[in-house]
């Protein structure tokens, strides 16, 4: 009996130590995000010293900071800062949506891009771009700047529901079906997008190219504003559902036995994740693999507990996307690589490695 008590107290101490480490890890991720944001504002065609960046930010907050070069202030306020904020929001949204879908499907390979949710969002957005002036004019005029994110949200919602229906049976999801359904949906949405591209005029075509490859270029304050509203909700709400996510990993029936209203929660999660992906796709096009890579790295470092995974994904997702954007716009100056190509180059091999490791497991 004494040895049992001893073993228990060692286990409790171990868990408490781990929780403690996780809290520090979240703090470290927050710091990382701030540093990357600072770099992202400082580096570009005009390099601005980080101290100057802090002075401009301080000046905007009404602090007495002394002399500032006006052209630096202009570059920061009208170009770098909105782009940096947009990168943080989009990265956080994609990573949290990825973690949420992996929790929902009980599968670490679920990614909004791989299972077709992003493609569904993009198809709906392309519909609005190409048909917005004709067939759907009454909608776009009624909804204004929200019509694109809203369409992307609805597209994402529908594809998530379709994939979920296809891949789960009796509360079990099959990875094989999930990924195959993703291939089919990606192909269908790609065909739809291709058809619309064929119908598009020159101006629309330029807009569309941006969708297929993903970019944070052209970030503006109005974009940041509208997308922040839409992304804030899932970004705050999903981490609050952390215990529900943990329970759902036990299985749908088991979560129900623990007092979770399973169906209602699953619908809520689908809607929130689709909102995050839809809003992100609406402003930045198709940026893949963020939702796959970020939660996976965090699980390796901090374990699968969603109370740390979801906030961690928001912080690390923002940082990584910003870092990728920094590379995308500095590697081949003065031109700019589409960020989606960069994340695919990095994320593709990562996904293959993950798949190889999973191969032994039952699917």
């Amino acid at each position: 009996m004494t040895s049992a008590v001893l073993a228990s107290s060692i286990a409790i101490a171990g868990l408490e130590r781990r929780q403690h480490r996780r809290r520090w890890a979240l703090l470290a991720l927050l710091l990382l995000m701030l540093v990357v944001a600072l770099l992202s504002i400082a580096i570009g065609p005009v390099t601005i010293p980080p101290a100057e960046v802090l002075r401009v930010v301080g000046d905007n907050l009404g602090l007495p900071v002394g002399e500032i070069a006006p052209q630096h202030a202009a570059v920061i306020e009208s170009i770098r800062l909105p782009r940096t904020l947009l990168g943080l929001l989009v990265g956080a949204a994609l990573a949290v949506a990825g973690a949420a879908m992996q929790g929902l499907f009980r599968n670490p390979l679920a990614d909004p891009g791989l299972i077709g949710v992003s493609a569904g969002s993009a198809l709906a957005a392309v519909c609005v771009i190409v048909l917005g002036e004709q067939g759907l004019a009454f909608l776009t005029s009624a909804l204004g700047p929200f019509s694109l994110p809203l369409a992307a949200f609805i597209g994402g919602l529908i594809t998530t529901l379709v994939v979920y229906r296809l891949a789960s049976r009796d509360g079990q999801t099959s990875v094989t079906t999930l990924l195959l359904a993703g291939i089919a949906i990606n192909a269908l949405c790609g065909a739809g997008t291709g058809l619309l591209t064929y119908l598009a005029d020159d101006q629309q075509l330029r807009n569309l190219t941006f969708w297929s490859m993903g970019s944070l270029g052209g970030a503006s304050w109005s974009q940041v504003g509208s997308v922040a509203l839409l992304i804030a909700l899932p970004l705050i709400a999903l981490p609050l559902l952390a215990r529900t996510f943990n329970a759902l990993l036990l299985g749908e029936a088991e979560a129900g036995h623990l007092g979770i209203a399973v169906q209602r929660m699953q619908r809520l999660i689908v809607a929130l994740a689709a909102l995050a992906v839809g809003a992100a796709v609406a402003v930045s096009g198709l940026i893949g693999f963020v939702g796959l890579v970020v939660p996976h790295l965090l699980r390796l470092a901090m374990g699968p507990d969603h109370r740390f995974l979801l906030p961690g994904a928001a912080l690390l997702g923002g940082s990584l996307l910003l870092l990728a954007d920094l590379l995308a716009r500095t590697l081949v100056t003065p031109a700019e690589l589409p960020i989606g190509i960069l994340t695919a180059l990095l994320g593709g091999p990562f996904f293959i490695a993950l798949l190889m490791r999973q191969r032994g497991m039952a699917v």
């Binding site: 228990s8 060692i10 286990a11 868990l15 408490e16 088991e254 036995h257 979770i260 699980r299």
Partner: protein, 263 residues
Amino acid sequence: MSLSASDLGVIRDGRALIDGVSLTLNPGEVLVILGANGAGKSTLLRCLSGELRPDAGEIRLNGVPLAAWSSGDCARRRAILPQQSPLNFPFTALEVAAMGRIPHGGPGPGDTRIAAAALAAAEAEHLAERRYTTLSGGERQRVHLARILAQLWSPLPNDEPRYLLLDEPTASLDLAHQHATLALARRWTDRNIGVLVVLHDLNLAAQYGDRIALMKQGRLLALDRPRAVLEPPLIEQAFGLPVSVIPHPEMGCPLVIPRQIAA
């Protein structure tokens, strides 16, 4: 107060999975469900656990219809041990056990202590730091047992009766752990808890059950003390296997021995 089912019926694809089943699980007793494959044991358990809504009949938990309880209140009164869980994320065993505290607003620091104690009760304290994904089937089963013990760890106000439903808890366990698990379930009846166990082993049922419900083709064949249910004609009727029943040499409970099947 009890967990009671009256006149339950479940129909799927035009076939009655269970039909006219009535039984009452009282706090303080171990009620064993026996029956051949497809006899409706799991369907009955899924009805009692609220997972499956019966097409006919009613289930009451402490006098109140199941549907009238909030899911949280239900979870504080009734815990279910699944045959297996699809969990495939690398939580530690202690973290899995602590999930049993979710209906109580956990897991917080106090809940971690309860989870550790529950692991010890399920003879799984040495697994606490291990990743769930690296455990064997039997070890996983004991971690889930700890999880549902944690769920019902502390009594309710006024010591309201609570219920444990165990779906083939011994299926992947070795001999010693089969007996340890059922002995533990027996001990927990002292906490004003009623235990319902689905089993395949008639002798485990004889040894640990206060009452046995024998099912065949969705119906209750018998519901009585082990001595009355474990009679060769009833067993042969339920399982289609001729048996001899002799008294256990030490405990006096029935001991069921299959006889040679006529070629």
